[in-house]
Each structure stands twice: as C-alpha cells, then as structure tokens.
C-alpha cells in the first residue's frame, strides 16, 4: 500500500549524490525506513524513487578522529550506537539517548541520520547532540559543509538540507574534561513511545568545584525544532550549584520554549514538565560530574 517507486542502492557516496541529482524532486534518501516507509504507507509522502544509503561505506560506523572528535556515520543504526557506549564518554551520552528510541527492533533499523533528517521536534537523539554541540557533515553536489546542529533544524520535519544533499556524519567534539551529561525522556510508555518532553543537560564543573563553568540544556518536543535553552544555561553558569538554582533554571527554560497542545499533551503540561525535568536533568548531570570528579 505504498504506491510504486524505484529503489536504488548505490555503492558509493558519489554515486548516491549523482542519483539524487538525476532523479530530482521525486527522490528521497532511504536509511532505516522507520520514518519514511511509515509516511509512504500513510500516504503522507508521494515519491517516485528511494535511494538507499544503507550500503555507503562513507556513512557507516563510529570512530574517534585523531583530534578527539567522535564521528558517527549518518547511516549507523541506533542499536550499534547503543553498543558503542564504551568508546568514549561522548559516545556514552549519545548511547543513553539512542537507547530510549522505540524498541530494539526499531533501533536495529533506525539510523542516527534518519532521526535527525526526519526532524521531528521530539527526535530523541537531538537534545543530547545539541548539548554536546555536535555538527552535521553534509555532502552535496561537488562540496561538503559542516553545519552546527543548532542550525540544522528549521521547523517540524524541515532541515537545512538542500535538494541533492545527504547527511554524511554527525561530529561530536571532545567535551571538556570532567563533563557529564544526562537525558530524560518523558512519555507514557517506557518503550515504543514518543516523548512529551525530552531534556538533555551537560555540565562542566568549574575549577572551584562549587558550580558549573559550562552548562548546556537541550529541549525536545516543546518547540518547532529541538532547541537550546540559553537563558536557563546562563542563569547557572559560574554560579554555585544547588537544587534551588537548578529549579530556577528549569522555570526559565519553561518560559523559553513554545510547546503546542496536541493529542499527546497540552502546552501547559509540557511547559510544567520542562521546568521539572530540566531541574532533574541538571541535578543528574551535576551528580554524575561530581562522581566522575571523585574517581
């Protein structure tokens, strides 16, 4: 019940980019298909050609570059990301969020690139990548560029990707020593559910140990795109950390976001949850950073 389309499985990135250009607007990239095939079956999209990126070596795998960056191929299944948690602390943070997507069956198919390019405001890997200030490596006809993830999303289901472009990898810079991050997903079910609200927090303790030198807060499902809560971050940076302060930051984050009311939750409830869960995510990150410092 998906209509008819051509299916192409190029062997190299160059071949894929060529095909994408040739086929024009009726073509789309197919990764795990866990969003795209559902949209086709529900007839939300009408496509004449699917170009699989599943076998492009350039888009596969997780590796550390010599400069300490973690590069995750866009076509890497989330399940593989979960298994690679031991690679680095950055990898562990991404794995924590990836683990919360769908179910193991879904994670075996679903890719990181698909999660980001589908650009759902609730995409579970987005908030944690935002707080780690990841970049999106994008290949287009004849050129590559890197876009900070914060500028990658332009609206629900929309990204900076131009026709003919493919997301190649997500690049996570090495985080400052002593950092810790957390991700809290709030949904009705503990698996196979979409977040009402997702909150990621990253903290880098300051030299005095009393407060955070750097704080990053990422929010999901509460604005047209996954977003950073910069005012809340600013309220914490350089201040002695306390639960009260984290709660205040939560209140600020709640005013920064712009949630909507839909089938899953009301805007009011989402806003309240941003306050609560931001506080909890901050406390969790802080405590984990303290634990890390003690080791």
């Amino acid at each position: 019940m998906m209509g008819h389309f051509d299916y192409l499985a190029p062997k190299t990135l160059a071949e894929a980019l060529g095909a994408l250009q040739d086929r024009g607007s009726g073509a789309a990239v197919l990764a795990g298909g866990t969003d795209l095939l559902v949209q086709l079956k529900q007839r939300k999209r009408d496509l004449s050609c699917l170009i699989s990126v599943g076998s492009l070596p350039e888009l596969k795998g997780i590796r550390k570059t010599p400069d300490g960056m973690l590069s995750v191929g866009a076509a890497t299944p989330l399940g593989e990301i979960v298994s690679a948690a031991g690679l680095s602390r950055e990898a562990a943070c991404l794995a924590e969020a990836a683990r919360k997507v769908g179910s193991s069956q879904v994670r075996n198919l679903a890719t990181l690139g698909g999660n980001l390019c589908n650009a759902a405001p609730s995409a579970d890997t987005a908030p944690v990548l935002l707080v780690m200030e990841a970049g999106a490596r994008i290949a287009g006809p004849g050129k590559e560029r890197v876009v900070p993830l914060e500028h990658f999303f332009t609206g629900p289901g929309a990204t900076v990707l131009q026709p003919g472009e493919i997301l190649v990898a997500v690049e996570i810079p090495q985080a400052p020593a002593g950092f810790a991050a957390s991700y809290i997903k709030h949904s009705v079910r503990r698996a196979m559910d979409i977040a009402f609200v997702g909150v990621a927090a990253l903290m880098v303790p300051g030299a005095d140990g009393a407060g955070a030198a750097r704080v990053r807060i990422g929010l999901g499902a509460v604005s047209p795109t996954p977003m950073r809560a910069r005012k809340a971050e600013a309220a914490l940076e350089g201040q002695p950390f306390s639960v009260e302060l984290a709660a205040r930051a939560g209140e600020i984050a709640a005013t920064e976001c712009s949630p909507i009311t839909d089938l899953r939750a009301s805007a009011e409830y989402r806003r309240e949850m941003v306050a609560v869960l931001t506080r909890r995510a901050l406390v969790a990150a802080w405590e984990s950073a303290q634990g890390g410092a003690a080791r």
Partner: protein
C-alpha cells in the same frame, strides 16, 4: 481435593512450539486459488445523508472485479442483539468510519486505489457526541428511538431508601471510563467463498462460529446451515471477535465478483471502526453502617453505545447488577441507559461491563473504609459473600473462596506491613471482583456445550466441538482432560478448531465459559469414549469392563498388565467391529443455570468466580507518572486444569487491565478517532509492566469439570480499582476517571483539571 495424573499439572500448550517458531498459519498466511482482495470505503463524516455514489471510475480501473454499495444489497438488517445496522450504508451514515462501499480487486493496492476513485456525495447532518446532548430535547435523532436511548435496564431490589436512612455514612461520586480496543494482534479478517451449491464458506476467526453464522445468515438472506464457518489459528479476540460485520461485506463482494475474497482490516480500521469497550459514566451512591457493612447502593449508568448497538444492551445489563453478588447487599437500585451517539459503535470486551463497574464500586468502598477508619481489606472481609449463600439477585454460590483470596493476597503483598506505611509517593491498593462462568441470558435456548471424542488407530484421540480457543489455551486444557480420562498423553490429543458443518453446536468463547462449560462437555465425551473403549476391550480380553484398567496407553485386566492390549489396537479393532464407526465418545453438559426474570433475578450461571488483587504503585508527584511496581492477583478458579495456563490468563488480564487503567484510550474529536495507530494508542509494553504474581486459590466447585471454574474474563475486572486505590494510598487523591495518564494525575495532584487536551477532562 482428589488427585489427578494430568489435570492440575503444568502442560506445554499444544500450539506453543509452532507459535514460538513463527510457524503458525494465521488467516493472513492463507489464500485460495483465484482469490481477490477486498477493501472497505468508510464515511469521513459522523452523521450525513448519502446523496449519491459514483463507482464508475473505480469499476473501470484495471484489476477491479467488483464494487458494491448499500443500494446493491437487499435491505436486510444486521445486529446481534438489536438489528439496527445495514451491511453497507444506504442513505445515512451515523459514524465516521461507517462502511459505505466495498471493492474486490486482484491485489490490495489496486483495491485501495479503487476506493480513492469512488465519489460519494454527502449532505452533512448535525451530529451528537456527548450522551447528555444526545438525550436532550430536540437533539438530532440517530435512530428512531426516544431521546436516543437504545436500551434501558432498571434494577430495584430491597429497600434502598431505608438503607440510606439507616446508614452511618453515605458516599457518592461519579466515575468515568473510556473506550479501549481489545488489542488483539490478529485483526478481524476472513476469506469468503461461494460454493457451487449456493452455500457460503468462510474461513475466519470468530469467538462464536455458530452464533456468528446465525447473525450473518439473517443479514444476507440465507439459512444458517448454508454458511460453513471454518476457524484457522487465532491471534486473540477478547470479545472483539464476537461481532464481525466485515465477514458479510466480504461475502457480498465474493458473490458480486464470482471469486473468493480475502478481507483483512488494517489496524487503523480496527481502532477507528472496530467494536471497542463501552465507555460508562457511573453515578454511584453507597450507604454503610458504622462497622462497614453495606446498607444500600444506588447506581446511575450512562453507557455510550456509539452509532449501533452490537453488544451494548448486554453490556449494560451486566453493568447494572453483576458486581452486586460480590458482597451481601441488602438493597440495590440501578438505572442504566444505553445512549446512541454519532461515534464508533462499541461492543464486547473481556469483562463485558464488569471492569468498568468494579472500578467505581471498589474505589468508593475504599474511600468509605478510610472514612470509617476500617482497613480496606477488613471492610471487604466483613461484607464478603460466602459459599452456600444465595446473593441478592438469586445467584447460588455452590463454591466461593472470596475470603481466602483476600487473605492470600494480603499475605503475598505484605498488606499489613505495607498498607499506608510506605514512603512518600508509594502505596498499596486492593480490589475484589465477582464474575460468572457462562451466562444463561446470552443465548436463551441453551447454556451448554457438546463434544465428540474419536479414538484413533494410533492410540491418540481427536476432539471436535463448537468451542473456540482464540489464544487462551483452553484446547490444551481439553487435551489434558481427555488424557486424564483415557490414560494417554496430552500430546496424543488433536483438538480440531470448529467447523460449523462438522462440529457439534456450541456457543463459543464468551462469558468465561470455555473451561467450565466447554470443558464439562469434553470431560463427559472422554468418559463416554472410555466406557466404549472398556467395552470393546472386554470383548477382546474376555473379562468384564469393570475389571479393566487403563494406564500408559494399555488396557488390561486389573493386576495383569502383560495380558493387556494397547488402546491403539482396541481402537482399530473397534473400527472394524463397528463397521467403521469405531469409538466415538459423545458428551453434553449444561450447568443448570436459569434464565433471570425481567428484573434480573435468577441463578444466571452454573458457578461464580471471585478474586482479590493488590497493586503496589509509585507515583511521581511532579510528572504524574504512575508506575505499578508489584502486583498480586489471587483468583478463586475452583481448580486449575493447567496451572501454567491459568497463570498466563491472570498475567495477560492484569496487563490488559494496566493498559486500561494507565495508558489506553481511543481519543476522539467530533466523532473522529485521533489516535488511530498503535504508537498513540498505547498498549503497555513489557517494561511498563510489574512482576505479576498470580495466586491460584483452589477449592473445588461441585459442578465444574474436576472442580474447575472460568478464568477468562475475571483477571481484568479488579485492576483499575486496585491501582486507583494504591494511588489513593500513595498520594491521598482518588482518581475517578480513566485512564490515569500522567497529565491527568499531575493535574489532579495539583487540584485542577487538565486543560486543552481533546477528549474528556476532569481529574
């Protein structure tokens, strides 16, 4: 309790291996030569007049073999209890999702494409979605009945007014329950084929092949016997497969196309146009003496029927009085109304009205206990009915282990140590339940079952009957019964799914009747086969039947096993000596239930079952998330034929109950279901479930086979109240509206109702 060799022992289900290996062939795996694929066009409007339908473009699409609309069909009505539906709408549609036309084509894609080419012109009519609005003066009439009231049940027994006057405490509140889908994995489906002689063959899963055939026959102008229903392997039903108009649509498509037609609903169709649970609004008032004894109860029920009746009238009948046989009520009154609205028709779902009402009653009792300063377990023990009693509605309790269930659930859950003594946000809650095991009122002529057990030349046995295993495992229990009686292994028994042209008549799987009634017949058929076997063997062995014994597949004179003959040999001989007929045991069983009178007085079932559940929860006071962390479910089931199967029934029922309580809800706006996918219709997944600890409380029932009673529906009944009471214990707020999703709980804890979400409000 007497001991048995196979009955009462955990046995691997006959179908377990194939199911675990993915080898079971469900309807979706089957096809017939030349078979076409059917699809249904549904109304987008909740209430509209059909001005015209133009099928020409659809008919001219390559691959389309038939298009059928309501105007192509004779105007026979369809319906189980009330015939208020057409096979396909003619002039009016009454809910968004109603069947308007159907297409048969060479494949599903073509059929789907053809649906898009059918032009239907509608004139939209004013619609009503709330029951109060539907009953209001001047409301649009959905059917030709006063105030859109489809059915009404009034119960009045004892002096309710005096009871309230004498009461020390009177509690009153409104409880609401939502519409939930049965959630089976295997959607409603069938393959229909017209035979050369004009009869109709249907392959499809139904819980009641013989009843389904009667209803279908009336709606397409056939005699029931002209329809042959053959059951394939079934992937669940839970009440949802007691009413399948889809089969009739597939039949008319097959007739129009002159080819077999397969029709399988999508899950979107299941969720928008299935037959989900009837939502109730329950106004409950109860009076209690100072010592907690119940003095009187008064209930007002509004039941949202949706656009057609299906099983609605039966559901409100159950809702009106079934829970009254749990305690010693001196006086009860109930006024239950079933109201038509322009929404998806509702129907039968595990418990049939009972889970909804138990939620209300068991919640209010808990609050009364707290008000009176009595332990909630104690107030239940004080009111509990006992074996040997006749309840307020004339139900005769030949067995009853309610007390024992309460005590065992208390012990297992550490009730005394934990209730009201857990840390902040944690609590323990209890709820009890009563249920029937068969329902004399559901099919008036008869409340029994029959079975045939044929002995095979290899020493095995074949069972045929009109009963259904839609996944519960009762066929394995039947095999155990036959194995017990005949001295063969359970895996030597083959249980054939019903085929209405071959099986003896049966009512099928509803009303928790399959072990108690179906099993009753199977046991007697097996005994008859044993009697015949001994007779045959006595001729071969030259000794009288009562000197013979059977063990390990051998029939032998007592004390002389060497002289014995194998069952296989005796059965083979019997075939020749009987000129082919062989050993064919017959059994029929009727539990002696009686049809209640117009006021619902009468011993409606052959036995009654009881249970006590205790839930332990953790409530997140900020997010409103409720997590069930432990769950004990003690069930009075007479005797477990297959304890592993009984535990599975309890675990499954509790899991479904947790979904009903915490996450599942068909949300509609203006009559249209918004969450028509399984992502937003949230059936719990394994991480959402606690450890469920079943307790089998076994006290033989004098009527049931081997003392067994029914366990199909009961495990879901107490769940919502057990959880709501645990939340009450944890946070001091009692939630009266299901489901208790986080947003609603958070709002309730903050002392306000949630805003802005579609669907109903109020914490």
């Amino acid at each position: 309790m007497p001991d048995f060799s196979v009955v009462g022992r955990g046995v691997t289900r006959l179908d377990a291996r194939a199911k675990a290996r993915g080898e079971t062939r469900y309807l979706g795996d089957m096809s017939l030569p030349g078979m076409l694929h059917g699809k249904i066009l549904r109304s987008p409007h909740p209430h509209a007049r059909i001005v015209g339908i133009d099928c020409r473009r659809a008919l001219s699409l390559a691959g389309v073999k038939a298009v059928v609309t309501g105007r192509d069909l004779p105007p026979h009505k369809y319906g189980y209890l009330v015939q208020d539906e057409l096979i396909l709408a003619r002039d009016l549609v009454r809910f968004a999702g109603e069947e308007v036309a159907a297409v048969a084509a060479v494949d599903e894609d073509t059929a789907q494409e053809a649906l898009d080419l059918i032009r239907v012109e509608y004139e939209v009519l004013p619609a009503v979605f709330e029951m109060e609005d539907a009953m209001a003066e001047g409301a649009p009439r959905i059917h030709d009945v006063e105030r859109n009231i489809a059915s009404r049940v009034v119960i009045n027994r004892g002096d309710v007014e005096r009871g309230f006057q004498e009461a020390h405490l009177v509690m009153e509140d409104r409880f609401t329950t939502q519409s939930v889908h049965q959630g089976y994995l295997d959607p409603v489906s069938c393959i229909t084929r017209w035979e050369d002689d004009g009869s109709l063959t249907i392959h499809g899963v139904t819980q009641a092949p013989f009843i389904q055939r009667e209803v279908m026959a009336a709606s397409i102008g056939l005699a029931p016997e002209q329809i042959r229903v053959i059951q394939p392997a079934a992937g669940g039903g839970f009440g949802g497969k007691l009413d399948q108009k889809v089969w009739v649509i597939a039949a008319v498509l097959a007739r129009a196309a002159g080819k077999p037609v397969r029709l399988i609903l999508s899950y979107e169709e299941e969720l928008t146009a299935g037959r989900p649970r009837v939502p109730l609004v329950i106004d409950l008032k109860m009076g209690f003496a100072r010592d907690g004894l119940i003095k009187a109860k008064d209930t007002g029920i509004l039941a949202d029927n949706g656009a057609y009746c299906s099983y609605g009238p039966g559901v409100i009948s159950v809702a009106s009085h079934r829970s009254d046989s749990l305690y010693r009520y001196p006086a009860v009154r109930c006024d239950a109304k079933l109201v038509y609205t322009n929404k998806t028709p509702t129907g039968a779902y595990r418990g049939f009205g009972n889970p909804q009402v138990h939620f209300a009653v068991e919640s209010l009792i808990d609050r009364a206990a707290v008000e009176l300063g009595i332990d909630p377990a104690e107030i239940r023990l004080r009111n509990a009915v006992q074996k040997g009693e006749v309840t307020i509605h004339g139900w005769v309790l030949k067995s009853c282990a309610l007390d024992e269930c309460i005590k065992q659930a208390m012990d297992a859950s550490a009730w005394k140590e934990k209730r009201s003594r857990l840390g902040p946000g944690r609590g323990l809650g209890m709820a009890c339940m009563v249920h029937v095991s068969s329902n004399r009122a559901s099919y008036r002529p008869f409340d029994g079952a029959s079975a045939l057990v044929k002995l095979e030349g290899d020493g095995g046995a074949v069972l045929t009957c009109g009963e259904v295993d839609f996944g519960q495992g009762n066929f394995t229990a039947y095999a155990q019964m036959i194995s017990e009686e005949l001295g063969i292994r359970p895996d030597q028994v083959k249980v054939l799914p019903p085929d209405t042209s071959i099986s003896t008549f049966g009512l099928g799987s509803s009303g928790s009747r399959e072990i108690f009634i179906g099993g009753g017949a199977v046991r007697l058929a097996a005994r008859d086969a044993r009697r015949q076997l001994l007779n045959e063997a006595s001729v071969l062995l030259g000794s009288s039947p009562d000197e013979l014994e059977i063990e390990g597949g051998i029939v032998f004179p007592r004390g002389n096993r060497e002289a014995g003959r194998s069952i296989a040999e005796v059965a083979r001989e019997a075939v020749y000596r009987g000129r082919g007929l062989g050993i064919l045991g017959r059994g029929t069983f009727d539990p002696g239930s009686e049809l209640p009178d117009a006021g619902k007085y009468g011993n409606i079932s052959g036995c009654y079952t009881f249970a006590c559940h205790v839930a332990e929860v953790e409530v997140d006071p900020e997010t409103g998330a409720v997590k069930v962390v432990d769950y004990v479910a003690a069930h009075d089931l007479g005797r477990a034929i297959n304890p592993a199967g009984a535990e599975g029934q309890i675990e499954g029922g509790v899991a479904q109950g947790i979904g009903f309580t915490l996450s599942e809800e068909l949300v509609s706006r203006e009559g249209r279901i918004l969450n028509h996918g399984l992502l937003d219709y949230r059936i719990p997944t394994p991480p959402d479930l606690p450890r469920i600890r079943p307790i089998l409380v076994e006290e033989d029932d004098p009527v049931g086979p081997y003392g067994a009673k029914g366990l199909g529906e009961p495990p879901q009944n107490p769940v919502p109240a057990a959880i709501a009471n645990a939340v009450y214990d944890a946070v001091g707020v009692q939630f009266r509206d299901l489901p208790m999703v986080p947003e609603r709980v958070a709002a309730g804890l903050a002392g306000r109702s949630p805003k802005g979400r579609p669907g109903k409000g109020a914490a």
